[in-house]
Amino acid sequence: MKLLQPSSLEELDAAGPGLLLAGGTDVVPILRNKLIDVDTLVDIRAVVPRGVDGTRIGAGTTLAELEVDPQIPAALREACASAASPQLRAMGTIGGNLRQATRCWYWRMHYPCFLHGGDRCYAQTGVHREHSVFANDRTASAHPSDPAAALLALNARVRTNRRELSISELYRLPTNDNRDVVALDYDEVILDLEVPTPEASTYLKAMDRQKYAFALVGVAAARFGTDVRLGLSGVAPIPWALDSAAGLDDATPLPDNAYKIQIARALIERALEAVG
């Protein structure tokens, strides 16, 4: 295996294709488990901005740095604080967090599933208590990122080395032709995020235990004037936007995960109360 360590965007372009590596919290286990087969790693830490400057957040900023930063909206701070473990938050970057792979155990255990390019989703008929209740017809994978739900509610924008896009454009539902859930090129690098400042925001998360677990359901709410935006984690293959709790009526739960709808309804109610 080769490790390239470009020190500028020009050097990055010249480096050619390789698997991007920043905090490594997802990439390294994925490599070790041979879920991705690559011979070149590109360490992007030297080329990705780190730190918070007003409403701009460098994609290399760690979740640990964000969870204590008073400049950023509460929803993002709370989402970062509730994610993973202290060590993983100290290593993991916000840019990498947005591109993490699914936690679906079938995918992680190399089942030839839809997301691996196969023709079926094993969770739909298998063990799916933690899987999706929306858009789960092709894959029932549930998007694991807490910060992504917060950034969706906050209507954040993403700047890469090629373009600028909204957080909702960053994600796509996988199709037969393209099984990715992130709409970026393989070697496209998220440089920073532009995060609008709401009047009030919050992130509430239901877990199997109080610390260090992925969201069963996470609900972010952000109020801009009289407009409240909602972003949910753990309920769809991608971070999921809802206009209101009424949107939950359109859910398509699997036999063993309809409980997520009740949790989402309760968390939305509490989140709306919290942001006034």
Binding site: V28, N33, S85, P86, Q87, L88, M91, Y212
Partner: protein, 145 residues
């Protein structure tokens, strides 16, 4: 060829790309206080400090450490937390203890008088299969006694 700085000492780094910091610490340098349990970044047994920041050495590629200073449990031999873990009887099998003490050392460095909730938040990434959590909490809360 780059170097690796561990507990204030500089070592020549001669390892294949892809190897973890934990494996180099244990197998090449002989610092076996750092434990490898899950080897996939879940359990916290391999926690070391990189420039004072608790880091999972089993999923840190050794070539990405660079000039950051590595502190392992061997570098914390004289830390009062070692004595407080003994005093509080904060272990049974002891396998997770090095990682527990490394995480706790970063917490008390930043916050010498943590509350119980702050201890729980900062120590959540160190799993103890013996379930010694109440005594681990006590050890961290009383580290200066």
């Amino acid at each position: 060829m780059s170097d690796l700085i561990v507990n204030g000492q500089r070592y020549a780094l001669d390892a294949q790309v892809g190897r973890s910091l934990a494996s180099v610490l244990r197998e090449d340098i002989g610092l076996i206080g750092t434990k490898i349990a899950c080897n996939e970044g879940h359990c916290g047994a391999c926690t070391v400090l990189l420039d004072g920041v608790p880091t999972l050495s089993c999923i840190t590629l050794v070539h990405t450490v660079g000039e950051r200073e590595v502190t392992t449990i061997e570098g914390l031999r004289d830390h009062p937390l070692v004595e407080s873990f003994v005093r509080a009887d904060a272990l049974q099998c002891g396998f997770c203890t090095p990682g527990q003490i490394v995480s706790a050392s970063a917490l008390v460095e930043a916050n010498p008088h943590p509350s119980r909730e702050e201890v729980r938040h900062a120590m959540a990434g160190n799993i103890c299969r013996c379930g010694a959590y109440p005594k681990i909490e006590e050890a961290v809360l009383t580290w200066q006694d």
